[in-house]
Structure formats: structure tokens, C-alpha cells
Symmetry: C2
Subunit: 453 residues, 2 copies
């Protein structure tokens, strides 16, 4: 059997034999693959296939769907079945889904759940988005320091089925304060009579519940840990965040930065599945803002209209000059935005980076000036070549320094540095470039100064 056959089967009433064939096929599939295929199917078909699986596995597959696919599926699920699924789902995944559900469904669902599950869902879905609290799970294993190794192993065995990982266990005192962490590896190779207090690693690398999710992901990557515990201000253990969540967050944050650099607003969905109006909205805001930004370039051109009219050949060089300023600026901004995001560069490096950029941009500008002066001589003689080369040197410098500084400035005033998009930097560099170019041309080519006519 393959997925295509499965789809055609799911469409008919199955006899026992076919049902068994389908179940055998499903049992061999990884839940991630199953979710990937089912996501492309019509909802009713996907639900019929899901129904063939044991409940625990249904929840597992369900956890691999995208947020929007999950929502679509839940709309078709009877409340009773949704409640069953919720009972089996990971605590962090179900809290995320719960937060997205319509209020009526939330109520219907909560009424059908056990009290402790209700509370768990309410608590987890109450944390602000993109914080440690919002992404942590309460499915972790905790041990007490007075336990023996044997008691701890027994406790782990009991907790294992409901836990995301038992490879790192967290040790608390009797009222839930986090004391340390313990690797399963150290536990199973220890003598059965030893106390947990002797084995515990004192610094469990905890994060605060209100930490930014990006910070948490970097924390996990930096220390190469499987999971980090999440605590409140009193050091009480609230949950854990595992490496696979950290990977998802890192991917999400990189996507956000990349979109930002390309002047696209924050897009949570897959670009293939996102509604067209959403994509329109995420793009039009910056396009309109930038067109008004371009008015500064236009203003510069209007100001120098007489210069241009007297020497129309100058317009020939305009695209390459302002283009180069924008390109050098985009490069500098891109380098800084990423370096700030992954922590390669920090606020305190601003001065150092500015000095470095000054030297590099001068070298870039000089090379570009050389390249463009050749075209200048060919097109307009030595005078024009001089003006064009000098302009190139200055606009590349200008663009680079703006591009490099803007992400720092934004970060300083509390705005995401990735807002310093390539188009934004290019627009600013354009406006500066127009004024620098025609200003230099007016001076060196003996053209009428603006307004002198």
C-alpha cells in the first residue's frame, strides 16, 4: 500500500480486511510523514484516516500538523473526539492550539476535560506569546533530592509515558523550588542505594518564564543541552523547553528576520498556503511607506531640475550611483542584522564596527569609483568621469555607514534591528545619493546652482 491507495480507500466504507491492511500500512509510517501527507488531503478524508489510528498516535500525528491545518481539522471534529485528542496531546502543543480555538469551542472543550487538564491548559495558554512560558511544556519529570537512585528510577518509569523527555530530569525540594538537573545516563549507572542529592548537577541552566523565546533558543544552542527548565521569579519549576522546540523557534526567528530584511511584515504562515489578502497586507505597508520615502529622492531631483536640464547626460549615471549606494548599504545592513540576531555583535561593538566599516567602505568606494570612472570617460570625458568617480566614493561610503548604523539605532530605540531592510536602506541611500551627485556635479561642472536661474 502507499499513500495514494490509502486515499482512495479512505473514501469508501472499508471491510475488515482492507481496514487491517490500512492499519498495517499506517503503523509503519512516521507520524511526521503521515501529518505531511494528510495535510494535503481533503479534511474529511484526513479525519477518516486518523480515526484508524489508536488515540495516542492520533494525538502524535496531530501534533505534527501546522497550526492552521490543526485548526481546520478541529473545525470538523465533534467536541467529544476533540476532547479525547486533547487529553492525549503534548501539554505545550495543546495549549498553543487551545489559544487559537474559537471561544465557543474552548468552552465546549474545557467542560469535557478533567479538572487538572483544564487548569494546565488555562495556565499554559495564558502566558504571553513568544515567551518561555508560552512554549514550555508541563510534561517533564521531576525528582526529589532525598530519593534513592532506585526510587528515582521507579518514579521515572511511572512518569515516562507522559513526559517529553526523561533524559534530563529536574530535582526540586518539597515545595517545588528547582535545585538541579540529572542526566538519566548518570542515574542508571549509579549504585541503586545512592541519594539523588549526591548525583544532582547544581546548575540546571534555567530560564525565567517571561524570557523571550529567541533568547531561550540561543541558550539551548549555546549550552548544547537537551532541555532547559523554566522557573518563576521565586525559582519554582514551572516547565521545560526541549531542543526540538528550540530548533523550531530558531527557524521561525530566522524566517522572521529574513522577511524583515526583505521588507515583508511578520508572516506566521507557510507562503504557499497563506491567503492572498494576508500576503498583500504584509507587503503593501512597506511598499507605500517606501514610495513616500522615495519622495525625498524626487525632491532632490526637483531641486536640481535646472542642473539636470542643462546636462541631461548626468541622468545616465544616476541608476548606477544611487544603485551602488543602496547595494553597499543593503550589504552592511544585512551583515549587521544577522550578526546582532545571533549574538556575533552586540550594542557595545557599535563604535568598533563603525570604524571597521569606514575602512571597508572606503576601499569598496574607491574600487567602485575606479570602475565607474572608466564608463565616465567613455561617456562624458574626464570632467564627468571625475564627478562620477568622486560621487561613487562618497555615496558608497554614505550608504554603507547608514546600512551599518541603522540596525544599531533601531535596536537602541527598542525596534527589531531587522526592520533595517534592504529596501529601506536603499531608499535612504537613494535620497542621499541624488543630493550628493547633483551637488557635486553643480560644483565641479560649473552648472547653474539650483534656484539661480
Amino acid at each position: 500500500m502507499d499513500y495514494a491507495q490509502l486515499a482512495s480507500l479512505a473514501d469508501q466504507t472499508l471491510n475488515d480486511e482492507l481496514r487491517q491492511d490500512a492499519r498495517a500500512f499506517l503503523a509503519e509510517q512516521h507520524p511526521a510523514d503521515l501529518a505531511m501527507h494528510l495535510a494535503d488531503w481533503p479534511v474529511e478524508l484526513a479525519l477518516r484516516v486518523l480515526e484508524l489510528l489508536p488515540l495516542g498516535r492520533q494525538a502524535e500525528v496531530f501534533g505534527y500538523f501546522d497550526a492552521d491545518d490543526q485548526l481546520t481539522l478541529t473545525e470538523q471534529l465533534p467536541d467529544e473526539r476533540l476532547a479525547q485528542l486533547f487529553t492525549e496531546m503534548n501539554a505545550d502543543e495543546r495549549a498553543d492550539l487551545f489559544a487559537e480555538l474559537p471561544e465557543a469551542t474552548q468552552h465546549a472543550l474545557l467542560r469535557r476535560l478533567k479538572r487538572e487538564e483544564q487548569e494546565d491548559i488555562r495556565r499554559l495558554s495564558a502566558y504571553p506569546e513568544e515567551t518561555a512560558g508560552a512554549i514550555m511544556t508541563t510534561d517533564f519529570v521531576s525528582l526529589r533530592e532525598h530519593m534513592t537512585v532506585q526510587e528515582a528510577l521507579d518514579s521515572l518509569r511511572a512518569q515516562a509515558p507522559d513526559s517529553e523527555t526523561i533524559y534530563r530530569a529536574y530535582v526540586t525540594d518539597d515545595i517545588g523550588h528547582l535545585i538541579g538537573a540529572l542526566r538519566l545516563q548518570n542515574l542508571i549507572f549509579a549504585r541503586a542505594g545512592r541519594r539523588i542529592a549526591e548525583l544532582v548537577e547544581p546548575d540546571p541552566l534555567a530560564v525565567l518564564v517571561d524570557s523571550d523565546q529567541e533568547e531561550v533558543a540561543r541558550h539551548i544552542a549555546k549550552y548544547d543541552v537537551l532541555a532547559v527548565p523554566v522557573v518563576d521569579a521565586d525559582n519554582r519549576l514551572l516547565g521545560i523547553i526541549t531542543y526540538d522546540d528550540a530548533m523550531d523557534i530558531a527557524e521561525e526567528e530566522a524566517t522572521e528576520d529574513i522577511h524583515s530584511i526583505g521588507a515583508v511584515g511578520d508572516l506566521d504562515e507557510n507562503v504557499r498556503d497563506a491567503p492572498m489578502f494576508t500576503l498583500y497586507r504584509k507587503r503593501i505597508v512597506w511598499l507605500v511607506l517606501l514610495v513616500f520615502g522615495a519622495l525625498f529622492s524626487s525632491g532632490g531631483i526637483a531641486y536640481f531640475e535646472d542642473t539636470i536640464a542643462a546636462y541631461v547626460a548626468l541622468v545616465f549615471f544616476l541608476p548606477m550611483l544611487i544603485g551602488s549606494a543602496g547595494n553597499a548599504g543593503s550589504q552592511a545592513a544585512t551583515l549587521m542584522v544577522r550578526a546582532l540576531a545571533i549574538g556575533d555583535v552586540e550594542m557595545k561593538d557599535w563604535g568598533f564596527m563603525l570604524g571597521k566599516e569606514l575602512v571597508i567602505a572606503l576601499a569598496l568606494g574607491a574600487t567602485m569609483a575606479l570602475a565607474v570612472s572608466g564608463i565616465g570617460i567613455f561617456r562624458g570625458g574626464p570632467d564627468v568621469a571625475f564627478v562620477v568617480a568622486l560621487t561613487m566614493l562618497i555615496v558608497v561610503l554614505f550608504g554603507s555607514l547608514i546600512g551599518m548604523s541603522l540596525p544599531f539605532v533601531l535596536q537602541r530605540v527598542g525596534v527589531d534591528p531587522a526592520t533595517a531592510s534592504a529596501p529601506l536602506v536603499a531608499t535612504i541611500a537613494d535620497a542621499g545619493g541624488v543630493i550628493i551627485y547633483f551637488g557635486i556635479a553643480t560644483v565641479f561642472l560649473g552648472l547653474p546652482a539650483p534656484g539661480s536661474a
Copy 2:
């Protein structure tokens, strides 16, 4: 004690008491934090502090340094001490470092290592860069299917100290063919007399040794596994790749894509520490290429010089029109580059995405046309407003479709789609925009056709 005090101590000859204080402080630090601080210190100082640590911990800290910091440190290490460090380092990390060492150091080093270590290093460092082989480690645990649970646990205990993880063990037949995987969790809770063959999970999600590292990272993220086994074409187990490597690769690949989108060449180093000449090289190539790309815009302007001379006011709108084409194109390219990189969109979606982009770009273009026609009426009357609005609609459509398609075209011809940088797309959109703008203006404003004078 803190890091500042440690630095001042490391500079002097230590008496026993101070040395012990320093050691006590060091013992409390996470190797990742130690490496981070020592990387900023003068090399001799860092080496003196490293020397205070037990050899195994030295190797651990060393493994957390950046590649270039590792190289700098090794230059100052006597061959004998370097050999000791190598013996303790993780197999994958030392192979990476080995590949970077000067040939003379490689020879001196190999002579001092045991035969099996020599072979391990030679083999691992021989795999092509950015493949599964180059990033895998040989420090994994393997079990045989005929073992009992008790035998397997004993074997794990023996292998544990040299392994990157024992939470996933791999089961092979007697000549090394991969049969399946086993979670430590399932092993420790199984009856001691059961056979491994009964517990093994048959599909260990293996990757081929010559797979691209990006693919491997996505594989690990998709299946949420701690580690994946790496096999050759005959399904022989060669090594494993763990989630922390996958996180590093994902970060590296995202950085590469971001730089590419900003038209910066592939930069392996931290932008703060990278030599200025390296940064110059990574930027100048694209800047020069793009300036020649801008010649097409200039050519367009030269072609329409008479049109421009007859109606200089048209230049006023040039920046916002070609800027908008470039911005819309940058947005589309950025969305596609990222979607292709994370697998949200595939080659087969090209047609679908093109249709979607057509609708979105028309909506964007219409909105922008409206915005700019206001400025057009104010600045040049209804005729100019009409020309400017029509141009805007067409150039936004043109820029968007180019920006959307270019990443697909590049991927199709085997070039990294991220080469479709915002500046490249903007340059192409500029050239098209100039011709479209002045072409429309010539037709609708009754201006002299180019060459008609």
C-alpha cells in the same frame, strides 16, 4: 572570583593557594561560558587558564571555541599538548579542526596519535565539506541484535564515556549493517533477559553519508529526533549526527541565506572578527557586477534622452517608480528564497505560486498606482498622473514576477536560489522600470519617439 580576576591571576606565577582558588572557580563554569570569555583574551593567557583544567575538560572547552579561535590557539600549543587535546576531543570536532591545520602540524600531530585515532581523523576529515560525512561523529554507541537487555546495558556503560549520546543506540548485524535504533528509555525499563532484537525500532531514519548537511538538519528537525545514523550505500553504519550539530547547521545555513539575500558572499567567520580584506572581498564582487547591471538602466535612459530632455519633470517620478518595482521584487524574492530553503515551497509549486503572485502583485500595483497618481496630479496634471499610475501598476507587476521567478530559475539551473538577492532583483527591476516608464510616457504624452529627432 570572577573572569576579570582570573585574567589578572593568569598573568602571574601562581602560588598553590591562588591556583586552587582559580581551579575552584573554573570547576563551576560551564565550558560554553569559559570558551566565550577565553576567546576574547590574549592567546597565552587563555592557554594558561586552560592548563589549569583537567585534560578532558580542556578538550570540552576547546570544542566550544569558534573554528578560527581554535586555529589561533593551536598555533601556540606545543605538538605534544595538541596531541593530548586531540585524543580527548569529540571525533567530529577534531576532524573539522584537523582539516584546517597547516600540513606540517597535521604530520607532527598524526605521528603522536594512536593508530586508530589517526585512521579515524583521516577518514572523517576526508569527507567533502557540508556533507553528512563531514559533520558526523564516530563517537556513537552500537549494540548487536542478539544481545540481552542486561548485556546491552553493560555495553552502554562501557561505551558511554566516549559517546556523544547514549540516549539513542544503534543496532547492527555482525558486519556493521544498520538494523535499527533503540531508545535508552525503552532499554532500561525492559526485563533484563529480553533480546535487543525484540526491542529494536526498525526504521532508524538514517541518512546517506554524502547527503547535504542542510538536508540532514531538516531531517532531524522534521522527525524531532535526538540523532540520526549515517550510512554508506551498503547501509553500513558509519557515524551519527546529533541535534546540536543540526542546530548549528540550521543557524549557519540561515546566515548564509541571509547574507546571500543581501548580496554578500559566503562568509564563514563572525563579522566582528573577520579580517577587513575578507569582508571587502565578500562584498566587492556583487557591487561591481551590479554596477554593470545598472548599465542597462543607464542604456535605457540614454535611449530615451530626447524624451527626458523634452520633459525633465518625468525624472521626478523615476526614483519612486523604479524603487517600487525593486521593492516589490525584493519582497517576492525574499519570500520565495526562504520558502524554498525551509521546504515550504518546492519546484513543483512554481506554476501555482506564479498565479498567486500575479493576483497579489496586481493588487499591490493597483494600490501603489492610486498612491502615486495623487502625487502625479499634484505635480504634473492628469496626463502625467495617468502615465505614472499606469507605469506603477506595470512595474510592480514586472518586479514581483521577476523576484518570484528568479529563485525558481536559479534552483532549476542548479544555483543557490538565495543568489536572487534583493539588490540583484532591484537592479533588474530598475532596468525594466526605466524602459517601461519612458516607453509609456513617449506614447501617452505625445513626446518625440527616441531616434526620431
